[in-house]
Assembly symmetry: C2
Homo-oligomer: 330 residues x 2
């Protein structure tokens, strides 16, 4: 008979245990969650923001890069360069940013002369803008981006080496064209190249930017570029210039280090004179350099400070082009 | 009356709850422990083990380095070099490892020709051993060590630049003399320099070691060297050689990366011929290179694997010695 009674506390105990267990499970989950949240992902810390959930990549995409080339009024050169870049090792895909508004893309002709080992995608634009090449293209599957101007040829060997350097410095712009800013006593910045010297540097030279017209950088920075202040886009559109300076500001701000790593090219050429269009690049415009100094000062205002840092590191390939390039007087 | 009976299951329930709770607490602790153990310390991962609690450093010691120079039978050269290195920027202290057993140190004469800006400490040794220079000297106050052979002169400019490079690669051996190992089809390794080529490298060359006879490295590695297998010390003592190869193994094992970063020197000289002692370095011995290949293979056995990794990065100073050293054909 007491069994009857005793089932009651028994059932009560069952319920308590049930509640208790569920509480315990929740606590466990909370603790696990909290501690897991503490785990830093070293890789990601170094990577641009939005890369924290990387896209799913085809196996081939992991150890390869995407070439992004913006073209305007130089279709003959473009095809010459596309042919050259078809033979570059580790090249996953080519994205051509077609700034010839209203003009037909040469896709038919390109395909008729195939087969081509590396796929080429033509991205037709509606406005001829400098910063069109800085979109976060959905066709982009690789972490590594090689951005090239449409009048510049870099040897396959230089590109293969620079890509291996980028893999060791993935948060930097790894490229072949260094530039610098100089702060003048007036507090106004000046933009220039090797001809511009800063007495403060002592022996040797320094650079604070690596131009993206011939450089590797992380595709995450294209995503980051979409989240910049409107004033940056306005500046780039107003000048049709300085998108590369803006990218160096972005990377320097992101890393707190010099934005670029300069790789000394063995063979880089400007093919501008080879085009039949006779079109010569915007950097020939009288105001080009003045504009770029103007942009540096504008960007310092927009970002409320000068993030660019100096570096004096120049990287070459050990034992190339000749095995003795590293031998010294010893 | 049934209460009497029912207290029993009640107590049972209490005990069960007690057991259950304690189990839960243990599980919680285990989960917490496991997850906490997963937290990596990024800084430490890059630094040599024992540097996790760095020594208290004088302010001057933070941005400076200590020169460690072992000397044997070349006191005239030693004094010449000590004079040269007195003028090196960022030099905090000089530690001379005195391997001239039973011979008086030239401290009196050195002091009589003072004052000298940088303090020099003579460490008198009781046995003439190659690895004497790899002690964890109590006089060492800086994180950065510059180790130099007593017959090698590197220009102040090269040292200043290499130190700035080391500050960017503190877990590597940053130096001026690259070497490599090659694995032969037989599985036996061979040691050599630029004259030794590996078909697998394709264009250019590679290196897998940077010799510590003219290099910067983290003082923590001297502490790590004290905790190596006895067989390593036996090998170095038996050959009076290979202490630098052992250090490259140690660093490569620690970092999982290439042990060294090669900085191309502008002016490095071997002053051996300048000594009146007529003593010429051990690397002239017929067996020197054979010994070093022997050491590589021995160390692979001792460490149960080949930790050395190849690099083809060569770093030079941008714009030095001439401002155009970075200009290209463009």
């Amino acid at each position: 008979r007491y069994f009857h009674f005793c089932k009651l506390p028994g059932r009560v105990m069952g319920i308590r245990l049930l509640r208790f267990t569920s509480v315990v499970i929740i606590v466990l989950l909370l603790v696990a969650g909290a501690l897991t949240a503490l785990l830093p992902n070293i890789k990601d810390d170094k990577m641009p923001n939005l890369k924290r959930e990387p896209k799913i990549q085809s196996q081939s995409a992991v150890d390869s890069f995407t070439l992004i080339m913006q073209t305007y009024n130089r279709t003959d050169l473009l095809l010459k360069l596309l042919n050259h870049y078809q033979a570059i090792p580790h090249l996953h895909k080519v994205i051509v940013v077609w700034n010839n508004i209203g003009e037909k893309i040469p896709e038919e002709m390109w395909n008729s002369l195939g087969p081509h080992p590396v796929p080429v995608v033509f991205k037709v634009q509606t406005v001829n803008r400098m910063r069109n090449r800085l979109q976060n293209f959905p066709e982009l599957e690789t972490k590594a981006v090689l951005m090239m101007d449409d009048d510049t040829l870099v040897s396959a060997h230089d590109l293969a080496f620079a890509f291996s350097v980028w893999q060791q410095f993935p948060e930097h712009i790894v490229g072949f064209v260094p530039r610098k800013h100089i702060s003048t006593p007036s507090g106004v910045y000046s933009y220039g190249s090797f001809e511009l010297q800063n007495p403060g540097f002592g022996n040797g030279d320094q650079y604070s930017m690596v131009l993206i017209g011939a450089a590797f950088f992380h595709s995450g920075y294209l995503e980051d570029f979409q989240r910049q202040p409107e004033a940056v886009y306005a500046l780039v559109d107003e000048t049709q210039n300085c998108d590369d300076i803006a990218m160096n500001f972005l990377v320097a701000k992101h890393t707190g280090k010099p934005s670029g790593v300069f790789v000394k090219p063995v063979d880089i050429r400007n093919l501008e004179k080879d085009t039949n269009s006779g079109y010569s690049g915007m950097w020939h415009r009288a105001e080009h350099l003045l504009q770029r100094s103007y942009c540096v000062n504008k960007l310092v205002k927009i970002y409320d400070g000068m993030p660019l840092k100096y570096s004096n590191i120049m990287i070459s390939q050990f034992g190339f082009p000749n095995y003795a390039n590293h031998k010294n007087k010893m």
